[in-house]
């Protein structure tokens, strides 16, 4: 791999062991994946922030990095952590967990990362179209590539952190235009009734697309939050890091001879059967990925005049929450909680004695049983509001 003189010096340790380690990680990955050089990145988005998913091993590594004097050299944002102030009380988390999470956050802060604590950093710091990024958090990666038109691979927690420190990423994969061409034509032969059906179809596409960029035919007029959830679902179903909407690809027609799959009601129904149960929920959760202002506005509208009778948590970023206090007030007037910095997936809901969580996110439905041992009922935002305001059978 070609390195500039400055990059060589960094790799040789002339600028300290922290940057050297970051460069070593990036150069190894670049060599293995056929990169010819490193690219400067505009930002990095780092995962492995919640103590629940990162664990003590991450603390050990970060302490080492801090001692080596490592520091972010570009804008570096952070994924959600394990709890916000309100949740740590509600969940009655043991002191050990609370102090480990605080330690983890303090270490990331020392490394110069911004405490955005969200999986939707792009609502606060929107990258420019065509800019190169090094982002972890698969849902944000798909959004950046597909909706914004920025260039990023699907980084892991360590490689995104290394890129934050070095300000660079190896030039391979989705940084190269030839790898951003569609490799699979997906024909939507049905009209989704709501976002759950749309996103379940996305989850299915993620499972069948492997590492090809799917070109989606037959989807029209989707709003930003529907696209955000579609990408999140695809990424959790498989390896998808980018999709293209035929509707938005302008005059570019699907390349000849592209492999084609159809997504119809049958695929959606079988996907939902695998991810969802029909049980009565003890907790209703929206915000995987974190809610946008548009979703909060929808919720405020549906919740108007209603009283929530089961715990209803709506997760978003502190940035989005602060940007629309009137919507937050309207939502919380119903008894629902607008929670920031965390989400149900990376927190400890099992401590509440919750057995069944209702949510509209197939991604959450995929991860929650393994991470928290709960069952999931998939229901649209509208249905979640209904469920939250009904008393339930039990």
């Amino acid at each position: 791999m070609f390195l500039t003189r400055e990059e060589e010096k960094a790799l040789d340790g002339e600028y300290g062991p922290g940057l050297q380690l970051a460069m070593r990680i990036l150069v190894k990955l670049g060599d293995l994946f056929g990169a010819e050089r490193l690219l400067p990145v505009r930002s990095a988005h780092v995962s492995g922030i919640s103590y629940k998913t990162a664990g003590d091993a991450a603390i050990g590594f970060l302490e080492g990095l801090c001692e080596m004097g490592a520091r972010a050299s570009v804008l570096a944002t952070t994924n959600p952590c394990g709890f916000d102030k309100r949740l740590s009380g509600l969940l009655e988390l043991p002191d050990q967990i609370v102090s480990a999470q605080e330690k983890l956050l303090a270490l990331y802060r020392r490394l110069g990362l911004k405490m955005t604590l969200t999986c939707v950093p792009y609502y606060q710091f929107r990258p420019e179209r065509g800019s190169h990024l090094a982002w972890a958090e698969s849902s944000a990666v798909v959004y950046a590539n597909s909706v914004i038109g920025a260039f990023t691979n699907r980084e892991g927690a360590p490689s995104a952190l290394a890129a934050a420190i070095a300000g660079r990423t190896p030039d391979y994969g989705l940084h190269r235009p030839e790898n951003r061409q569609p490799g699979l034509l997906v024909d939507f032969s049905f009209r989704p009734r709501d976002e759950v059906e749309l996103w379940a179809a996305g989850f299915y596409v993620g499972q069948v697309a492997k590492n090809a960029v799917p070109l989606l035919r037959g989807l029209r007029g989707l709003s930003d939050w529907e696209l955000k959830g579609l990408g999140a679902a695809m990424a959790s179903g498989g390896m998808t890091a980018m999709f293209t909407l035929e509707e938005l690809s302008g005059s570019r027609r699907a390349p000849e001879g592209l492999e084609k799959v159809e997504v119809g009601r049958e695929e959606v129904t079988s996907t939902l059967e695998k991810l969802s149960s029909a049980e009565e929920p003890d907790l209703i959760f929206l915000g995987c990925s974190h809610c946008s202002r548009e979703e909060l506005a929808l919720l405020a509208e549906h919740l108007r005049g209603r009283e929530v009778r089961r715990p209803f948590w709506i997760c978003t970023s502190r940035h989005v929450r602060a940007s629309c206090p009137e919507l937050v007030r309207a939502i919380e007037a119903s008894g629902a909680l607008v929670i920031v910095d965390t989400c149900v997936v990376v927190s400890w809901v099992e401590k509440l004695g919750v057995d069944v969580v209702a949510t509209n996110s197939p991604k959450a439905a995929y991860y929650l049983p393994g991470l928290s041992g709960v069952r999931v009922r998939l229901a649209s935002l509208k249905e979640c509001v209904e469920l939250a305001s009904s008393k339930g059978a039990g």
């Binding site: 380690l21 070593r24 990680i25 190894k28 990955l29 293995l32 994946f33 995962s47 492995g48 998913t53 990162a54 664990g55 003590d56 091993a57 991450a58 050990g60 590594f61 080492g64 972890a136 980084e155 892991g156 927690a157 360590p158 490689s159 290394a162």
Partner: protein, 138 residues
């Protein structure tokens, strides 16, 4: 049966030359959740290495899987003296590659594991990208 002296050529990822006993799996390994960082024992249910301790073994498996935070677990194991002596993979996977780099564990990728058996004595040369069967177990 002819495997002794066999030299498999792969690609070196992390430098270093070590000699040790092979622990061979046909299944991807998840370091976060799949391996207990306190003991170095594989805890994933149904894994063909379940119950095996990775410490000081030459760990041969197809590739990593699961959370990318798994890289940090390799470092945690190394600090406790429970890390594998070397890593041999069929396919380069970022989780294991980064883990090997930060924990400084010799690593070779691109090796056909079908020719290796648990209990073989292997020499792994991470600089040259070579795996030598020094003593084949029957």
């Amino acid at each position: 049966m002819g495997r002794e002296g066999l030299v498999l050529k792969g690609k070196g990822v992390v430098e270093g030359c070590v000699l040790g006993e092979a622990l061979v799996s046909t299944m991807p390994v998840s370091f976060l959740g799949g391996v207990d960082p306190e003991t170095g024992v594989v805890v994933e249910k149904g894994h063909d290495l379940e119950g095996e301790c990775l410490a000081d073994k030459i760990l041969c498996f197809p590739h990593g899987k699961g959370s990318t935070v798994g890289s940090y677990v390799l470092l945690a194991l190394k600090k406790k003296g429970l890390a594998p002596l070397a890593l041999v993979n069929e396919v380069a996977d970022p989780i294991v590659v980064v883990g090997a780099v930060i924990a400084d564990i010799p690593m070779v990728v691109g090796v056909d594991l079908e020719l290796l058996r648990t209990g073989d004595i292997l020499e792994v040369d991470g600089s040259e990208g070579l795996v030598r069967v020094m003593k084949a177990c029957s």
